[in-house]
């Protein structure tokens, strides 16, 4: 099987490049067999993540060292040089489940019996979800095709990977709550344990039926069905579930998060508690439908959804007297009416942003406060702006829409619209204010790039020069740049907006002045800012020699030397540059072109020279002014000389006479 190529992670986990584990592949990660040199008997596999997807390192950290019976727990993770992609990729190593999947993604699986579900799937899973929730993490990848049997005897089922993609990204719409389904897959957010339990409810339905009951419905239609009829009715419909399973499925598929079953409810049910199945609580319905764009809407949620899908027609409808009448009389929800009134009356101070789109977004929030934020086609959960920007940079969302939503203070309005504020949302006010300030700042090192790297800590640097090196830590930037430049002789080292944003967000020693210099139109200043940043990286994290970077940066530095006035000093420094660049020490290079003592000497010398020049100018001016007066002065001087000479001659004659006579 292949030529036995291996990639080693953490010194002793050998990932076998030529031994894929096809049954463990996920929609965005490929699986390969792993051998642990320290424990050769261990059965392991590695997921090689799609480099486009920021992994969930916070969840990996939360799972570290845990013993979860119903969930795969990562053994190790890190970045590897992946030959099949000819780049570096993020890899996660798990214990390999040996019993195969419960329900293959391709379909064709037999229904899982009620007994198997209650004995082999739910007990370990409920316990693991409880522990995961206690660790402050969510799974967000619970779906029927992500269950595996841990052992070949198929006694225990485990949930597969949940860390190789942003939360919920790989989930089909079927498995997502209405709120989460409304969001773009890149912007579903970590959510809460309630989202996992909803997905578990859907998974139970799919496993019990052996198929997706809504497979025929397009996603949009399924979402509308969920909103209009409730999730349980939309998914189960006329299908027959085992009667004993109706209660947990109803409980887990309840759309009102406050009434949805918790892990404790599930565990109590597994331990024998039986209650009457709950009837799903549907959204408040209006007594009369509101007509918008040819469709009738009885709930605020469906109307909000329709408004955001047809934003061009929305403002006119929102300002119409019919809407006001419907809101006050037909919907009869005073709290909602008040919120909509506030949404329409305020929020006009959005500068150059589209007033109408902001109005529509605010109205949608007021009509459906639990839904994600929807603006110009981007639909983002409140805790997913970092991930949304990461997706936007990959072309999965509109970058402008996500950024404008924050600048228009829509998240702040969303937070103020919540009737119940979850504790984890409280700090978001400050986070969004900081985001807004940074988004409005167009300098390199700020803007959407900075916000993305600050709020999506697992997004690697997307600067084209080093993207393939999967740099997550600023300490690796220079090594990656050096390696890239070695392979690309024509490339010049430069800090583009992505790298500037990345360093601004994650390199604590980065100074705003350097970022300003990097953004300067002056090539000399730009090169100097780049050198300062890279030299600081080198002194903080190495490598000791960055020869390729130094040599190519040295080519840009002659412009920097223009800062020195003294021509002889410039020449000397210019001659010194290539020698120092060969050594690869950026710090020495920086000391040469920006040494404080040398600059001060130059500056003082220049000031003295400028003073001397001014004095010469003055003296030459005096000489010029003195020109016409010179004959007068010469005449006076001549007269004085004549008088002096005459007196001298007269005295000499008198003396001669006296001597002759005597």
């Amino acid at each position: 099987m292949g030529d036995g190529r291996v990639v080693t992670l953490a010194g002793h986990f050998d990932i076998h490049v030529d031994r894929p584990a096809a049954e463990l592949w996920t929609p965005h990660a490929s699986a390969y067999v792993v051998t642990d040199r320290e424990t050769p008997s261990a059965s392991l596999f590695a997921l090689i993540c799609d480099p486009q997807m920021p992994p969930r390192i916070d969840v990996l950290e939360a799972l570290r060292g845990k013993r979860l019976e119903g969930m795969l727990v990562p053994a190790i993770w890190g970045i590897v040089e992946w030959p099949l992609a000819a780049r570096r990729c993020f890899a996660i190593v798990y214990d390999r489940p040996g019993g195969g999947p419960l329900a293959p993604a391709a379909g064709g699986a037999a229904p899982v019996s009620e007994d198997d579900l209650v004995r082999t799937v739910l007990p370990p899973l409920a316990s693991s979800l409880g522990q995961l929730s206690a660790a402050g993490a969510t799974h967000r990848a619970i779906r029927a095709d992500n269950f595996h049997y841990r052992d070949s005897a198929r006694r225990v089922a485990v949930l597969g990977d949940c860390c190789s993609t942003p939360p919920g990204l790989a989930q089909p719409l079927l498995y997502e709550t209405i709120e989460s389904a409304l969001a773009n897959p890149w912007a579903r957010g970590d959510g809460t344990a309630a989202d996992d339990l909803y997905a578990l409810g859907v998974s139970m339905v799919v496993l019990l039926l052996g198929c997706n009951p809504a497979a025929e419905l397009p996603d949009d239609q399924l979402l509308l069905e969920k909103m209009n009829r409730g999730s349980y009715a939309a998914l189960v419909g006329n299908e027959r579930l085992p009667s004993s399973m109706v209660e947990p499925v109803r409980g887990l598929l309840t759309d009102d998060v406050r009434e949805r079953w918790t892990v404790q409810d599930l565990e109590l049910w597994l331990h024998g508690r039986r209650l009457s199945p709950k009837q799903p609580a549907l959204q408040r319905r209006a007594t009369r439908a509101f007509e918008f764009n040819g469709e009738s809407h009885l709930t605020a949620r469906t109307l909000a959804h329709a408004l955001t899908r047809k934003p061009a027609a929305a403002p006119q409808a929102l300002r119409s007297p019919e809407f006001e009448t419907w809101l006050h009389r037909s919907l009869s929800d005073p709290e909602r009416s008040k919120l909509v009134g506030s949404a329409l009356a305020e929020g006009h101070d959005v500068g150059a942003l589209g007033q109408e789109e902001v109005l529509t977004a605010r109205a949608a929030i007021a009509l459906d406060p639990a839904a994600p934020l929807r603006y110009k086609g981007a639909s983002v959960a409140i805790d997913a702006f970092g991930s949304a920007l990461a997706g936007a940079f990959r072309g999965h969302l509109s970058l402008a829409a996500v950024a404008e939503a924050v600048v228009a203070r829509l998240p702040v309005f969303w937070l103020s619209s919540q009737s119940v504020m979850r504790p984890e949302l409280v700090p978001l006010h400050k986070v969004f204010e900081r985001m807004r300030i940074q988004l409005e700042d167009r300098r390199p090192g700020f803007g959407p790039e900075r916000v993305a790297y600050e709020n999506c800590r697992t997004l690697h640097c997307l600067s084209p020069l080093i993207e393939a090196h999967y740099v997550l830590d600023p300490g690796d930037v220079l090594r990656a740049m050096e390696a890239s430049l070695e392979q690309r002789p024509a490339e010049e080292p430069q800090i583009d907006r992505h790298l500037a944003g990345f360093l601004g967000a994650r390199f604590k020693l980065a100074k705003v002045e350097w970022l300003d210099e990097i953004g300067s139109a002056d090539p000399g200043l730009r090169a100097l800012g780049t050198l300062k940043m890279l030299a600081s990286l080198q002194s903080a994290s190495g490598p000791r020699s960055a020869r390729h970077t130094a040599i190519r940066l040295a080519r840009q530095l002659p412009a920097t030397l223009q800062r020195f006035h003294n021509r002889a000093r410039r020449k000397t420094l210019l001659e010194e540059l290539p020698r120092l660049a060969e050594k690869g020490s950026l710090t020495e290079l920086l000391a040469l072109v920006d040494g404080a003592a040398e600059r001060q000497r130059d500056s003082l010398g220049f000031a003295a020279a400028a003073r001397e020049w001014a004095r010469i100018e003055r003296e030459l001016g005096h000489l010029r002014v003195d020109g016409p007066r010179r004959p007068q002065r010469a005449a006076l001087l001549g007269a004085q000389m004549a008088a002096g000479a005459a007196m001298f001659l007269a005295w000499a004659a008198a003396l001669g006479l006296v001597v002759t006579v005597s």
Partner: protein
């Protein structure tokens, strides 16, 4: 020349003080001449005749410091001095004085001295002009050379009109 004289500097004090000094000097000169006339009239006669160029110079002199008078007077006095000594040695009779005054050679000596003084006064400004011009040119050349050195060493911006330091 007239304007040059007008701008020449006076030595010491204000105009009133200067005028008073000149008056005192003139009075002393007259007193001295009166004493000389009283004690040695022939000598005074020779001096009076011989110093006519100096008197003319004094009348024409526009310099406050009286450079023309000093120049002509000094050389004039140098021309008279041998004759005055000759006359003193012979005795100071009017006959001797007339004898001195009747000799063209003596007139040549007295007035020749004055002429030399006058010539000196006329020649010296030209020489002085040459010296002043040479010195000014030399200073200008040195300043320009130093300015060029500064530009070569520090660039055009040293003039203060170039690109500001970055």
């Amino acid at each position: 020349m007239a304007s040059a004289r007008a701008t020449s500097k006076a030595v010491g004090g204000g105009p009133a003080k200067r005028s008073r000094r000149r008056g005192i000097a003139f009075t002393l000169l007259l007193a001295g001449f009166a004493v000389l006339a009283a004690s040695a009239l022939p000598l005074a006669l020779v001096a009076l005749a011989g110093l006519v160029p100096t008197m003319v110079a004094a009348l024409l002199d526009r310099y406050r410091a009286k450079y023309l008078t000093r120049t002509v007077g000094a050389m004039n006095a140098a021309g008279i001095a041998p004759l005055a000594m000759q006359l003193s040695a012979r005795g100071t009779s009017m006959t001797d004085a007339l004898q001195v005054l009747s000799s063209p050679h003596n007139w040549l000596m007295m007035y020749g001295g004055a002429a030399i003084g006058w010539a000196l006064f006329l020649a010296m400004p030209t020489l002085a002009r040459t010296i002043v011009d040479v010195r000014a040119d030399q200073a200008q050349r040195q300043l320009k050379a130093r300015a060029a050195e500064l530009v070569e060493e520090w660039g055009e911006e040293v003039k203060g009109r170039g690109a500001p330091p970055r």
